[in-house]
């Protein structure tokens, strides 16, 4: 047990199985209405994943999420980096961010729908807002923490301030920016689903909440499992990418090669 439990991937697998077992027993023993046994919900997965319409819905969700996420990175990163390097820029944006941060972005959905309709634009905008704040915040922190002497070293080589922002501040702050992106990725998934709860046309949330309205609880829970797995896979891929991009920054206490 000890040796098998130490293998990579085994502990999370055990945790997943334990959750399913607990779910199954809870549903069968307590018999809460609206909580189907895990086996019934999982049995719906093949049907959902082989239905072209469901797959199109899922693809539509992921497309909006990708666009919202990408737009947020392109806008939020430069804002955060400039805030970190200029007190004036920080003083300008900081109060604004503090006002927007606690507002649940999905709660803005009805208002945004009045401007942009119920289509992709509204949902993408909500995802964009959800992702932007953590990315701005972490870019700001990362940019602020860049050592002044590192910037001076580049300045002595003849690099001007705008070039330093791109060539020095951006890579130096990248580890922190990517932490913001990881949070942003989770928020993108959350805002993606909630935006579809409010404006139902297509998407993962569309399937989920329509099934809920029709009391098809097996499907509801199957969709929750699918969203969970999507979140897990996105995070897994993102972490791989992150380690490749900022492997140079990981702590390395035990691999120093010399003493002088």
């Amino acid at each position: 047990m000890g040796r098998i439990g130490a293998l990579p991937g085994v502990p999370p697998l055990l945790a997943g199985v334990a959750l399913l077992v607990a779910w199954e027993f809870a549903a069968r023993l307590i018999g809460i209405s609206g909580l189907p046994p895990a086996t019934d919900a999982l049995a719906q997965l093949p049907a959902i994943l082989s239905d072209p319409e469901s797959l199109l819905d899922i693809a539509a969700s992921l497309r909006r999420m990708a666009i919202g996420f990408a737009l947020a990175l392109v806008v939020a990163t430069p804002v955060g980096l400039m805030m970190g390097r200029s007190r004036t820029v920080a003083a300008f944006f900081n109060p604004l961010l503090m006002v927007i941060y606690p507002v649940p972005k999905a709660a803005l959905m009805p208002i945004i729908m009045l401007w942009l309709g119920v289509g992709d634009a509204s949902k993408t905008l909500v995802i964009f807002l959800g992702v932007s704040l953590p990315v701005i915040y972490h870019s700001y922190q990362g940019s602020r923490a860049v050592e002044e002497k590192v910037l001076w070293s580049a300045a002595a080589m003849g690099m001007d301030a705008p070039a330093r922002l791109f060539h020095i501040v951006l890579p130096a702050a990248l580890p922190e920016i990517l932490i913001g992106c990881r949070t942003g990725l989770v928020l993108a998934l959350i805002t993606m689903v909630t935006s579809e709860m409010i404006a139902r046309q297509t998407g993962v949330g569309n399937i989920l909440f329509n099934a809920l309205d029709m009391a098809q609880y097996d499907t509801v829970y199957a969709m929750i499992v699918i969203i969970g797995i999507l979140g897990f896979l996105l995070d897994f891929v993102f972490e791989r990418l992150r380690l490749r991009l900022v492997g140079w920054a990981e702590p390395a206490a035990d691999i120093i090669v010399g003493t002088t």
Binding site: K149, V150, W152, S153, A156, M157, G158, V257, G258, T260
Partner: protein, 256 residues
């Protein structure tokens, strides 16, 4: 080469108070001369170096390099900082090449020159290592190579060996002198170690504590090339060290 003329620096603290860090500093450094600025911590000696580097503007007075007032940083003055300040996302080779590529040198040529410098600082074999994988002494060797790469005519060294252990510090001092003997760049070297200043320098400018001013400038008349073992036994070296230590202990005579 460097002319510091009546430079003062006042900092504004966060509470709005004014702190006089440097006052009335005048110092000239000749072409090819190795001059140390020696003083206790907090005497503003690093600030003086940053003013010559163009990283900090003086409140009064002017710093001139080759007769022209300093208005900002430039590749004629290469800094080496106590904090190393390497680019952590670049390998050793990438760090040393960086300034050359920035100056418009082709990648191939920059690589070739970077490899020469890496060999000069005894780091051959570590080209593909990242800074996080190196010890402090090795990081400072990379930083020195990175600065030497773009051929500044002046080296501005800000307590470069201050963060290193005694053994590493000695080795780097020896290597720095070796490298310096080859082309005798103008060096302005900030330190709080009397032995280090005497061992390396042609002249030592001794500073007082805050507000920093120059108390005395001592010419170190010891033959070069200097070998540590010979020097430690040399009566004149010992006299310089003891003399400067006494000078640092006596309080500044105001208005004398």
């Amino acid at each position: 080469m460097i002319d510091i003329e009546a430079v003062s620096k006042t900092f504004e603290t966060r509470q709005g108070r004014r702190h006089l860090a440097l006052t009335g500093i005048s110092l000239s450094v000749a072409d090819g001369e190795f001059v140390s600025i020696l003083g206790p911590s907090g005497c503003g000696k690093s600030t003086l170096l940053y003013i010559v580097g163009g990283f900090v503007a003086p409140s009064e007075g002017v710093a001139k390099v080759k007769g022209k007032p300093v208005t900002g940083p430039g590749p004629d003055r290469g800094p080496v900082f106590q904090e190393f300040a390497l680019f952590p996302w670049k390998t050793v080779l990438g760090n040393v090449m960086y300034g050359l590529v920035q100056r418009g040198v082709s990648k191939v040529e920059a690589q070739e020159r970077a490899r020469e410098l890496i060999s000069l600082v005894h780091l051959t074999g570590y080209e593909s290592f990242y800074p996080k994988e190196l010890s402090g002494g090795m990081k400072q060797r990379v930083a020195l190579a990175r600065t030497l790469a773009y051929r500044p005519s002046i080296l501005l060294m800000d307590e470069p060996f201050g963060a290193l252990d005694a053994h590493t510090r000695t080795r780097l001092q020896n290597d720095l002198l070796d490298i310096w003997e080859r082309d005798r760049k103008t060096v302005l070297f900030v330190t709080h170690s009397v032995e280090e200043a005497v061992f390396l320098s042609d002249r030592v400018a001794v500073m007082t504590r805050s507000p920093g001013r120059i108390k005395d400038i001592v010419a170190i008349d010891l033959p070069r090339p200097r070998l540590r073992a010979d020097l430690l036994l040399d009566r004149r070296y010992q006299d310089y060290v003891v003399g400067i230590e006494r000078l640092m202990e006596t309080p500044a005579e105001e208005g004398a």
